[in-house]
């Protein structure tokens, strides 16, 4: 069982995000970290390979400045190797361009399954994974909350607006997982040491061989949204509930 896991490396989310005033792209100059959303896919892939009794987890990432820190975290969790695409021309890429790059990077190694997160934390287009599936001409199951492989058949519980569907699908296929599907492991000290020598294939667009890539959209302006005025904040001393009652009464809810 060989699994390609898309992992996005993103700015630390505890630092407020910023748009470059010139290009309007999200500023990504600091150190990047593994997107939390993708740690679930990595964990799930490691477990599936383990259960299959053999195979490799290959990480796939596109990030500026040959950034490796987030990939090292996922390698330390247990992934075998990584493919990183880094090229200044990819700054501000739209979802389809990102998907083309990732699909081309995935094709460099044999795979039975591709995993991604339903949405990235900083981009949240939520379309990249299924675009990758279409480009690779494989079936996809998005919004997966439980993933199993039985006799070469992928079995997924897929969240829907009203509950969930049991979906089955032959391999190769792509799944995008929601957070919370599994508990991502913490890298062990041994894992962290081993990650330093695991192979990372770093490519630029020319090396990837996709041909020219152009994003089909541009940001025309950025403005602050109207702020919601904040209201009254009271500290509960035992009678705080009364304030809620009065507020609801004033709105004629009760």
């Amino acid at each position: 069982m060989n699994i390609a896991v898309c992992v996005k490396q993103i700015p630390d989310q505890s630092v407020p995000g910023r748009l470059d005033p010139g290009t309007h792209n999200l500023v990504r100059d600091g150190k990047l970290i593994l997107d939390d959303s993708d740690s679930y896919g990595v964990e799930m892939a490691l477990q599936l390979v383990d259960r299959a009794g053999g195979g490799e987890v290959t990480l796939i990432s596109m990030a500026p400045n040959s950034e490796l820190s987030g990939l090292r975290t996922a390698l330390a969790m247990g992934a075998s190797k990584a493919v990183l695409v880094s090229d200044p021309s990819l700054a501000g890429s739209d979802a389809l361009t990102t998907a083309k790059v990732l699909a081309a990077a995935i094709r460099r190694n044999p795979f039975d399954l591709v995993m991604a997160a339903t949405e990235s934390t900083d981009g949240y287009t939520g379309t990249v994974p299924v675009q990758i599936a279409e480009l690779l001409d494989i079936p996809s199951v998005s919004f997966a909350k439980k993933v199993e492989i039985e006799n070469g058949v992928l079995k997924v519980q897929r969240q829907t607006e009203s509950g969930y569907d049991e979906v089955e699908c032959p391999l190769p296929a792509l799944v995008s997982v929601t957070a919370g599907v599994v508990e991502p492991r913490y890298p062990s000290f041994k894992g962290i040491m081993a990650a330093k020598s695991k192979p990372v294939d770093v490519l630029d667009v020319a090396g990837l061989g996709t041909g020219p890539l152009t994003s089909g959209q541009e940001i025309v302006s950025v403005r602050d949204a109207e702020e919601r005025a904040s209201g009254t904040v009271v500290i509960d001393e035992g009678e705080g509930y009364q304030q809620v009652v009065e507020f609801l009464e004033s709105l004629k809810i009760i």
Binding site: H24, T127, D137, S142, E168
Partner: protein, 321 residues
């Protein structure tokens, strides 16, 4: 120059067609004279409602045979686009809508624009507005390449407005063979029962978060919601923890709600949660941390313990009868 034709992906609901679908039809018909709906799981019974909101035609995909709906409808759209291309294609940011938009975008090599909260016309162009950083900043974007732009639009960005059009013409299209994408099939569907008003339509929403501490405490949320004729909701933290089903989730990846009152209990106010409830007319927050971001948007904030406040609140409302 202006836009002449827009395609809209429509989804079924218990009442026929989903309210978000009607919002998108209304938005499309205020931009272009020809609005064609592409749906699945709906028949001629929704033609009148769709027509009323401005759709001229309903093209319903049939013969899905378990294939994921978004994938199937994307295939129908792709086969039909040659010679009949619209100027723009609208999808709601639902699981099916995202699947369909993503498949279609990659099939036709067209860019997709997601998390749209508003659309404005600029001559022959559409400018889309996107809420980023939890809705604090609005980014406006435009497509630069040729071909219909694909837009994935957040629920409740537009109002569904009946304007009294004739019933939409009805046409069925069998999806036929859709290649490898069609190999993923639903073998069984599970619907999680919920009682009371629908989360995204309820006038009052009471949501609970990790601050409830344990699953049992969610009962207080359900009880309060019921007393106020509202719907219970949740942050993703407790959906992920398995306390409540995904259909309860409010926010970026869940439902967008715009009730008259939203009561957030033990919810910190992460940007991804706020983007789904910031549109509420009145917001009440109960959180023991005075610095919780949710207080920055609350009309009434109570700094305190949900386990102390909620039981008293429930009692007080009950005693009012």
């Amino acid at each position: 120059m202006s836009l002449s034709k827009i395609w809209v992906f429509v989804e079924p609901s218990e009442s026929g067609v989903s309210s978000t679908s009607l919002e998108l039809i209304s938005a499309a018909s205020s931009i272009a004279p020809l609005v064609e709906a592409f749906g699945y799981g709906v028949g001629p019974e929704v033609s009148q409602t769709l027509g009323d909101h401005g759709a001229t035609k309903l093209i319903a995909a049939t013969g899905l045979d378990g294939v994921l709906a978004g994938t199937a409808v994307a295939s129908v759209m792709a086969k039909r686009i040659a010679g009949d291309a619209p100027d723009a294609i609208f999808f709601a940011a639902t699981p099916e809508g995202r699947d369909a938009a993503a498949r279609l975008s990659a099939k036709l090599d067209l860019p997709v624009c997601t998390n749209v909260v508003n659309l404005l016309q600029d001559g022959a162009d559409l400018v889309s507005e996107h809420a980023v950083f939890g809705g604090a900043v609005i980014v406006s974007a435009k497509f630069t390449s040729a071909g219909p732009g694909i837009y994935v639009i957040r629920a409740k960005s537009f109002t569904a407005e009946p304007k009294g059009g004739a019933a939409a013409a009805f046409e069925e299209v069998n999806v036929g063979d859709i290649g490898s994408a069609g190999k993923a099939k639903i073998v069984q569907s599970h619907v999680e029962a919920r009682s009371g008003p629908k989360l995204d339509e309820a006038p009052v929403v009471v949501s609970g978060g990790r601050g409830l501490g344990q699953q049992e405490s969610y009962q207080m949320i359900e009880e309060l919601a019921k007393l106020l004729n509202g719907a219970p909701g949740a942050s993703r933290a407790i959906v992920d923890a398995g306390w409540v089903p995904y259909s309860y989730q409010v926010g970026q990846t869940g439902k967008t709600v715009k009730p008259s009152v939203y009561i957030a209990c033990g919810i910190s106010g992460a940007t991804q949660h706020m983007v789904g409830m910031k549109g509420a007319k009145n917001i009440i927050a109960i959180n023991k941390d005075a610095d919780a971001p949710i207080f920055t948007i609350a009309d009434l904030g109570i700094v305190g313990d949900v386990h102390k406040i909620l039981p008293k609140l429930i009692e007080a409302i009950k005693s009012k009868g």
